[in-house]
């Protein structure tokens, strides 16, 4: 691989052939494209949860906060409120986003927090050796349920659409250029954006063959919410990838504080003390 300005000197420890490589390369490419659109690289802030996906934090030379399992979506919302000028991206696994941290996802969508969540959805808890995850299909065999998963999988995108997500997309790690365009669109979207990325795990849930056959790019978002929900559920015969829903709505930090930027336009100490003295 050629050396990229976004590379760090961390050793990449994903399994050879892992879908995470596709996401990493798509993201780096997306950063280049964003810079061409005038987004300064220094203002792109990343966070991640814990799991195989989370290692991406060490592999991208961008500032950020390596959070804990299920919380990267909360972390980046805090960063956004602290400084709304920053573009914030939370990487998360399916265990993070749809299990441990699903409340943060639903509420980030509900309040239209201006964040981007990229979910590395491999349908398994891979770093902990392959237990079933919220998106594992029924019958999926893992060490915590050797006879097969007894639960039906969640359809997270349908849930997030209902919760109020304003940008909903699905990508496939093996369609790198397509995914990188989705990432650019998601980050440029003002409001809550989520990309559910189909990410084969070569060891625990190798879905390359399945998605190579089923993945089908759609070129236009649905016209309305019902259409979008229909699209994200239309997975029996095919696996649609692309942007399903893209609407504008006032974002949370603007509702909360207008154009105020807590870390940048801080009230001076004198002014603050003057106000307090008026009270006490």
């Amino acid at each position: 691989m050629t050396k990229n300005v976004l590379d760090t000197n961390a050793e990449i420890t994903w399994c050879p052939g892992c879908g995470n490589f596709g996401i990493l390369n798509a993201f780096k490419k997306a950063v280049d494209k964003l810079e061409n659109k005038g987004v300064n690289r220094d203002s792109i802030i990343i966070s991640s949860g814990i799991g195989c996906h989370g290692k991406i934090f060490d592999y991208i030379k961008l500032s950020g906060l390596y959070s804990i399992h299920g919380r990267s979506m909360a972390t980046v919302q805090g960063i956004k409120i602290g400084n709304p000028n920053l573009k914030v991206i939370a990487f998360a696994g399916d265990g993070d986003a749809y299990g441990e941290g699903i409340a943060h996802m639903i509420f980030a969508a509900k309040r239209n927090a201006d964040i981007t969540v990229i979910v590395h959805n491999n349908g398994a808890y891979a770093l902990t050796t392959g237990q079933f995850s919220p998106t594992s299909k029924k019958g999926f065999k893992g060490p915590s349920r050797p006879e097969g998963n007894i639960e039906d999988p969640l359809n997270p995108l349908s849930l997030l659409l209902e919760a109020g997500a304003t940008f909903v997309a699905r990508g496939y790690s093996a369609k790198m250029d397509h995914l990188s365009d989705l990432i650019v669109e998601a980050i440029m979207h003002e409001g809550f954006s989520v990309i559910d990325v189909l990410q084969p795990s070569v060891v625990f849930n190798n879905t390359y063959k399945l998605y190579n056959e089923k993945a089908e790019i759609i070129h236009k978002p649905a016209k309305n919410l019902d259409g979008a929900i229909k699209l994200v559920k239309d997975t029996k015969q095919r696996m649609p990838i692309g942007v399903f829903y893209d609407v504008r709505k006032l974002v949370f930090h603007k509702e909360l504080m207008g154009d105020w930027n807590p870390s940048q336009n801080k009230m001076s100490r004198n002014e603050r003390l003057k106000k307090i003295n008026e009270f006490v």
């Binding site: 814990i50 500032s63 950020g64 906060l65 919380r71 805090g78 409120i81 504080m257 801080k266 002014e271």
Partner: protein, 550 residues
């Protein structure tokens, strides 16, 4: 007792404005430059039940309410039955004759209130009118108070208060004379003091999920944040609260969270995260009786030991607890500065008795400071640079430099590591930081010592107020040693008191402060006075208990 204390109790159902009347009375006394202490007792419900507010006032410093009142106003029968025994010998009991059968001065409060909208809520105003009559305040002054304190329906409130005033006038006029004090005072609740303290030290964002008794701080910022330049956020749960606050601190915004025991449990992993990534966040923990849901609207100090080591792993933690409302202001400011100076999480530990009581205070915001953290100047940047004192310079985005805060063990740059050498070095860094913190605390006031009597009374938090008032009431000579800082525990301050005869006073069942004194300093108090019925100590009762020992 030498000082003259006047105590006023107003009791009624939730929704009758008794708490508001207590606060108005406290403000009124403070306006007269009198010292005041006001306590609210209320169950966990919105309408009905039994609420009461007690206000004690004096011309000299007062640290607690008393449960013997000179004036009792009761709006319903239940309040009458409870508070008729709380009257001093010469006291006046005024009851709502429409609802209460009893002895004392009856006034038709409900029948008068019925003439107005919100007839329940308005009844509390009667308590103020009656107080005005008893202490000899004229109607003009009463109008001023009503206008200042009751924002809505001012006209109704004034007309109603006049009617009550007139019917009470001949029966109980000018029974007590109120001497004016000398110092300009303002009555502030513990929650307001905490809010102003944080604002004074440069707070930018307050995150909280509602939970009694920390909620009033959330309301304080929601109501005053715009003016003070503090943003208030109420996320979906305490986990989001803590993680968002940590995220905000990454941008350089000064962040604080507030919660109570159960909510704090949910913040544990984030607390540990803050320790690992060295995020400066202040956690306000307001205690109520536990375990579990416990008794939401009452008071206890049952989380002392719990607060000392929250979160997994080893990292520097700071815990301090204010002993009165004035101190709550300064200590909150101090802690917010400390977390930025040392880039580690701290807990402001308090109790319902402090956060929801009010007290006359004299606060000088200019005495707080706004500590500047160590920040990166120029050249290559390493987030976790080894510096000798364990404190690495901060840098905030956007920046050309790479800023990586990492929950995994990390190298100086902030990248994940599993290298044994680096793991040990980073542990050493955090331990060095703890030592720097202790050295710093040694130069600060970590304990308060009141009085110079021979026997020692150890205490902490809001119980300090009860102890001080009990000593005053009983004329007891003793030294009170209040542990302000509890983590790191200020053993260096306590060594000289090791062999003095001592007792411990605290509001929990198992004697947690006593345990701490034994474990950390080999101090063996001869007696422990504990109260754990959810109610704060009554200084009169506490005085008798202390006198039994000494």
């Amino acid at each position: 007792m030498k000082k003259e204390v006047l105590t006023y109790i107003i009791g009624g159902k939730a929704g009758q404005g008794t708490k508001k009347a207590g606060i108005v009375a406290a403000n009124f006394f403070a306006d007269l430059k009198r010292e005041v202490f006001q306590m609210n007792d209320y169950p966990s419900l919105i309408r009905g039940g039994h609420n009461f507010s007690v206000v004690s006032t004096s011309t000299s410093k007062i640290y607690s309410h008393y449960m013997k009142a000179d004036l009792v106003v009761v709006l319903d029968q239940r309040s009458y039955e409870i508070h008729k025994d709380h009257l001093v010998d010469e006291g006046i009991l005024v009851f709502n004759s429409d609802k209460v059968k009893g002895e004392g001065t009856g006034i038709g409060i409900s029948s008068e209130a019925k003439k107005y909208d919100n007839s329940d809520l308005i009844e509390g105003v009667a308590g103020i009118a009656i107080l005005a009559v008893v202490v000899g305040i004229d109607k003009k002054k009463l109008d001023e108070i009503i206008k200042k304190e009751y924002g809505r329906q001012i006209k109704d409130n004034i007309n109603f208060s006049h009617a009550i005033y007139d019917s009470a006038f001949e029966k109980i006029k000018k029974r007590f004379e109120l001497k004016q004090g000398k110092k300009k005072l303002v009555s502030l609740s513990g929650s307001e003091a905490i809010g102003f303290g944080a604002a004074a030290a440069g707070l930018d964002i307050y995150f909280a999920y509602p939970m009694t008794p920390s909620t009033p701080v959330l309301h304080f910022f929601a109501n005053n944040g715009k003016k003070l330049g503090v943003v208030t956020v109420q996320p979906e749960n305490e986990i989001a609260v803590a993680n968002m606050a940590i995220g905000a601190s990454f941008t350089g915004a000064r962040s604080m969270v507030g919660t109570s025991g159960g909510g704090f449990c949910l913040m544990q992993e984030a607390f540990s995260l803050a320790g690992m990534i060295e995020s400066p966040v202040l956690f306000f923990l307001g205690q109520r009786p536990g375990p579990s849901t416990g008794v939401p609207t009452y008071t206890e100090q049952g989380e002392l030991l719990y607060s000392l080591y929250p979160g997994q792993g080893e990292f520097p933690r700071i815990v301090a607890s204010p002993g009165n409302i004035e101190e709550a202001f300064y200590l909150t400011a101090e802690l917010l500065n400390l977390v930025w100076r040392f880039q580690t999480p701290a807990i402001l530990l308090s109790e319902k008795h402090l956060t929801e009581s009010s007290m006359s205070v004299s606060i000088n915001p200019n005495k707080t400071n706004w500590a500047q953290p160590a920040t990166h100047e120029k050249g290559e940047y390493n987030r976790y640079k080894q510096t000798g004192n364990g404190i690495s310079p901060l840098l905030f985005p956007p920046s050309k430099r790479l800023i990586k805060w990492n929950s995994y063990e990390h190298d100086e740059q902030g990248l994940t590591t599993e290298d044994g050498n680096l793991i040990a070095k980073m542990h050493d860094k955090r331990r060095t930081k703890l030592h720097s913190l202790i050295d710093y605390l040694k130069k600060m006031k970590t304990v308060n010592i009141y009085g110079d009597g021979k026997p020692v009374i150890f205490t902490f938090g809001s119980t300090t107020m009860s102890v001080l008032e009990a000593l005053e009431y009983g004329g007891i000579k003793a030294s009170v040693i209040q542990l302000v800082y509890l983590q790191p525990f200020p053993v260096w301050e306590l060594n000289e008191h090791k062999y003095r005869e001592s007792i411990v006073v605290e509001q929990n069942c198992t004697g947690q402060l006593e345990q701490l004194l034994k474990d950390k300093c080999e101090i063996k108090p001869v007696r422990s006075i504990r109260q754990y019925d959810g109610r704060p100590f009554d200084p009169q009762n506490l005085a008798y208990k202390i006198m039994e020992v000494f």
